[in-house]
C-alpha cells in the first residue's frame, strides 16, 4: 500500500514521463562509488552493531545502472523471490536525491526481539521501519558525507508487507533513463539475515553523481 508522502521522494513511482534520461556511470566511477558505499555501509553496520550488541557482516555493494529496469532484478536478488517479504522505503533529498528500499524477512521483528533478548517486544511495522531508518540513514548518509553533500530524509514507510516481490516488481521495473542502484546485505553473525538495503539515485542525478565522484577522486589523488 502506498503511503501519502512528499512526491519529490517518490522516485520509484516515476514513469517514463517523470524522469530525465541520465548517463550511465563509467566503470571507474562505479568502482569508486562502490568504495564510497563500502565506507558508508560500514558506518551503518557499526550503528546496528551498537544497537544490538552483535557483530554485523556485510556483503560487498552491488552497483548497477538500471537501463530499462532489468537491473532491478539483480539488485533485488533471487533471495527475495517467490516468498513473502516486507519492503520499507525512505526518500532522501537535498544535494542528492533518491529513494532507498529496505527488504526484510517477515520474521524480522521476531529476529530483532530475539537479538535484543526481548520476549514480547514491538509488533507490527514499528521494527522494520526503525531498522530501515537506521540502515538507510547511516548508509546513504555516509555516502553523501564522503561526497560532501548535505541530504535529509523523509520518514520511512512500509511499501508492502507479507507479500511476494513478484507482484510489486513490475512497478519497480518501469523506470526510464539510467538510475544508479546500489544494494548491500546486512547479516548478524551469519545466523540471522537481517535485510537488504537498495538505494536508487534519481535519473537526473547520474551526471551530477559522476561529477561528484570525479571531484572526490581528484581530491583524494591530488
Amino acid at each position: 500500500m502506498e503511503s501519502a508522502r512528499d512526491p519529490r521522494a517518490d522516485l520509484l513511482k516515476m514513469g517514463p514521463t517523470g524522469a530525465l534520461p541520465g548517463t550511465p556511470l563509467p566503470p571507474d566511477a562505479q568502482d569508486a562509488l562502490g568504495e564510497i558505499v563500502n565506507i558508508g555501509m560500514g558506518r551503518a553496520a557499526a550503528a546496528l552493531a551498537k544497537s544490538l550488541s552483535v557483530f554485523v557482516r556485510m556483503s560487498p555493494p552491488t552497483i548497477r545502472v538500471a537501463d530499462g529496469g532489468s537491473q532491478w532484478d539483480v539488485v533485488l536478488g533471487n533471495r527475495w523471490k517467490n516468498r513473502d517479504i516486507i519492503v520499507a522505503r525512505q526518500g532522501f533529498f537535498g544535494d542528492l536525491k533518491g529513494e532507498a528500499l529496505a527488504l526484510f524477512d517477515p520474521d524480522v521483528t521476531a529476529t530483532m526481539n530475539d537479538l535484543l533478548g526481548i520476549q514480547s517486544g514491538a509488533v507490527g511495522p514499528e521494527v522494520p521501519l526503525e531498522l530501515a531508518n537506521l540502515l538507510i540513514g547511516t548508509c546513504v548518509g555516509g555516502v553523501a558525507a564522503q561526497l560532501a553533500q548535505n541530504i535529509g530524509f523523509y520518514p520511512p514507510a512500509i511499501v508492502f508487507q507479507n507479500r511476494e516481490l513478484e507482484a510489486e516488481l513490475p512497478r519497480l521495473r518501469q523506470r526510464s533513463g539510467a538510475i544508479i542502484l546500489v544494494a548491500v546485505d546486512f547479516n548478524v553473525d551469519a545466523r540471522h539475515f537481517l535485510g537488504r538495503v537498495v538505494f536508487a539515485f534519481a535519473p537526473e542525478e547520474t551526471s551530477r553523481l559522476e561529477r561528484l565522484i570525479a571531484m572526490f577522486l581528484e581530491e583524494a589523488f591530488a
Binding site: 563500502n38 560500514g42 557499526a46 552493531a49 551498537k50 556483503s59
Partner: protein, 120 residues
C-alpha cells in the same frame, strides 16, 4: 620488501598505494579478490599484506582463517576496512591480523601502523 594489496576495489587499492611510504612502493602486487590474493601468497615471496574485509565470494576474515596461524606468524597482515564496528579490529586480530586501519587509509595511519609492527 614485496607488498600484496588484496581488495576487490581498484579505487581502494589506489587509495592504499597513495598512502604507502615511497620506499615501499617499489614492489607492490595487487589482487582484486580473496582467492587471487591467496594464490599469490601461495606462490611465496610476499613480505607484507594489506587485506580488505568486505569482498565477494570470500571475505577478509576467511582469508585470515585460510592463511592460518603458521603462515601469519611470518606474514604480517594489516586489515584495511570500512567496517568501523568496535568488534571488527578485535575479530581480525584474533584471526591473526597484526593491525587494523579504517578506510580510507591515510598516510599518517599507515605510517603509524607500519612503525608499530616494525616494518618501518
Amino acid at each position: 620488501m614485496r607488498i600484496l594489496i588484496v581488495d576487490d576495489s581498484t579505487t581502494a587499492r589506489r587509495f592504499l598505494k597513495k598512502a604507502l611510504p615511497p620506499q615501499l612502493l617499489t614492489d607492490v602486487v595487487e589482487a582484486d579478490g580473496a582467492r587471487r590474493g591467496l594464490e599469490i601468497c601461495g606462490e611465496g615471496g610476499i613480505d607484507l599484506m594489506f587485506l580488505d574485509l568486505t569482498m565477494p565470494e570470500m571475505d577478509g576474515y576467511e582469508v585470515l582463517a585460510a592463511l592460518g596461524g603458521v603462515r601469519l606468524a611470518t606474514l604480517p597482515v594489516i586489515v584495511v576496512s570500512g567496517d568501523v564496528q568496535t568488534q571488527a579490529p578485535d575479530k581480525a586480530k584474533a584471526l591473526g591480523a597484526r593491525a587494523f586501519i579504517k578506510k580510507p587509509a591515510s598516510k599518517e595511519q599507515v605510517e603509524v601502523v607500519l612503525r608499530e609492527i616494525g616494518v618501518l
